[in-house]
Amino acid sequence: MQRMAGAGHGVQFSLRVPTTLDVVEEAVDLLARHCLASGLPPRRARFNLRVVLAEALTNAIVYGNAMDPAKRVDVRVDVDGGRLAIHVRDEGDGFDPTQIPSPTDPDRIQRTDGRGLFLIRQLSDEVHFNERGNAICMIMRCA
């Protein structure tokens, strides 16, 4: 049988999320179910994916959209060739992700914030930002 993935045709799915932290958990669960349906191994779907999605959505809501309820967060997942590209885009001005210090530095370890992007980088296979810095793309391999 010709494989869908082998033929280069993957599922794409998307979700528009309102700018409120109340929906983060539900959106994460919904997207995790779809990632599982697209072949992400159960353990990665249950843990790595849910953590990085929660981080990216929270940042998009809090920093990107600055809690403005008129704004939305768009999530799109492209499944192709055994990997998921998870795009999270907010309507904010973006930021410079190269300027974020490591939360594991001894003088930062006691801080209560600053671990979000670090966890995204650690738990994804690849991370990319658009130039403006209002869209992140997290790659997760299925194998």
Partner: protein, 112 residues
């Protein structure tokens, strides 16, 4: 998602179970629960993650904040029941160096 709080009277330890996720949407609830007990005079705390799905960075931040406040009040906090994935989270962030992490809530109680 919800938190269960029980008091082990023999040992005088408050055990909080994190049922579901510890994330941006409910970390304040956890903080309130623990700080209320601290204010009421409790000193020994165990947070049990055995029923926990995932923790996000704001959840980790809430634990750092609680640990500091408990220490300042002369109390002690132990984290128990972390599965492999959750344990990795503490290792990656080097927070395993900051917390007393034990295998199970029972072990945490025994060690107090």
């Amino acid at each position: 998602m919800s938190f269960t709080v029980r008091k082990d009277d023999a040992k005088g330890v408050v055990v909080v179970g994190v049922d579901g996720q510890l994330i941006v949407g409910n970390r304040h609830e956890l903080k309130t629960k623990v700080l209320d007990a601290l204010e009421a005079g409790e000193k020994k705390f165990v947070i049990d993650f055995s029923p926990t799905g995932y923790i996000d960075s704001s959840g980790l931040g809430a634990l750092v904040s609680l640990s500091k406040k408990i220490r300042e009040a002369g109390g002690e906090l132990r984290l128990a029941g972390l599965n492999d994935d959750l344990h990795t989270l503490f290792e990656l962030t080097k927070l395993d160096t900051l917390f007393a992490i034990v295998d199970s809530a029972d072990e945490a109680l025994a060690a107090f």
